[in-house]
């Protein structure tokens, strides 16, 4: 699977750990329709992880900003992972207030769906320093 490289957002695909697909996001996500870029990319990553019987970690810690349309894309990725019963972990930086607010809200928003899902999406505080 290829890395995603755009003018402002990069996502590196790391498959160096057995049983794990790590997606490392850097830059920022301010596209008008980020879902057009992100959803197919994450769909491919989920497919790859399913084939490998691996879990997926998405690392947002190095991201400097994302817009609300990106949040909409992320919650759709969460939905897809849950519907496929895949182990998904979202890592964010607890030192960045905007990340804490965004991911805590996402966590609360999906709580009703989590109760019905066979696997849980994990939100992981991962300090960068």
């Amino acid at each position: 699977m290829q890395n995603l490289v755009t003018e402002e957002l990069n996502i590196d695909v790391d498959m160096g750990n057995p049983g794990l697909v790590r997606l490392l996001m850097t830059g920022k996500s301010t596209n008008r329709e980020p879902g057009k870029l992100l959803i197919p990319f994450f769909a491919e990553a989920l497919e790859l992880a399913a084939t490998m019987h691996a879990g997926i970690e998405v690392h947002f810690e190095e991201l400097s900003h994302f817009n609300s349309s990106t949040i909409a894309a992320v919650i759709q990725v969460i939905n897809t992972a849950q519907s496929r019963s895949m182990a998904l972990a979202l890592h964010y930086d607890p030192a960045q207030k905007w990340q804490v607010l965004s991911f805590e809200a996402l966590q609360r928003a999906i709580r009703p769906f989590q109760a019905l899902a066979s696997t849980r999406v994990r939100f992981v505080e991962t300090p960068t320093k």
């Binding site: 817009n67 609300s68 949040i71 905007w98 607010l101 809200a105 609360r108 769906f113």
Partner: protein, 169 residues
């Protein structure tokens, strides 16, 4: 109310690219005024979401020589106002939805509920993104958000955020 300590006002081209240019420019400008980087990032987020909303849903036709879009940022020691204006079609059903959303968000303690509802709506239907950015503004910043349509058919959406941080000497 304190006398204003800064005022930035810009006519804006309605291209998507300008949103991020303005967000980062404001971030850098405000970092010379406020000591808290977190607060500056919050103000940057507010301006970007307001601008995105205006460009997505506003009309591009300039009215009576005015630019189609305008950003105003006014700061005092105790509050910052960020206003984005653009022409609107008064008959647009989107305008009713905007005012209904702002009324919902204005209820004390409702911001989290409204934002989570918006997120759940998007999870269920990817096309249901309307209002997510405005709900995010109020939820993440705790600011108040109001809107008014002037007699010239220009909509102004304004966020008022209590500064609560020390201003650079």
């Amino acid at each position: 109310m304190s006398p204003w300590i800064f005022h930035i006002e810009l006519p804006i081209l309605g291209s998507w690219h300008t949103v991020e240019v303005l967000r980062t420019t404001l971030l850098n400008c405000l970092a010379t005024v406020f000591e808290s980087q977190t607060y500056c990032e919050t103000l940057g987020m507010i301006s970007a979401e307001l601008l995105e909303n205006a460009i997505k849903y506003g009309q591009r036709i300039p009215t009576a020589g005015e630019p189609a879009f305008r950003l105003k940022v006014t700061g005092t020691k105790d509050r910052v106002e960020i206003a984005v204006s653009n022409p609107v079609d008064r008959a647009s059903p989107g305008l009713d939805r905007l005012f209904a959303l702002l009324a919902d968000l204005a209820v004390v303690g409702a911001a989290e509920r409204v934002y989570l509802e918006k997120l759940r709506a998007v999870a269920a239907d990817p096309t249901a993104q309307g209002g997510l950015g405005l709900a995010r503004i109020v939820y993440e910043s705790g600011c108040s958000l109001t809107a008014v349509v002037g007699p010239n058919g220009v909509l102004e959406v304004k966020a008022v955020s209590a500064a609560g941080v020390r201003v650079a000497a």
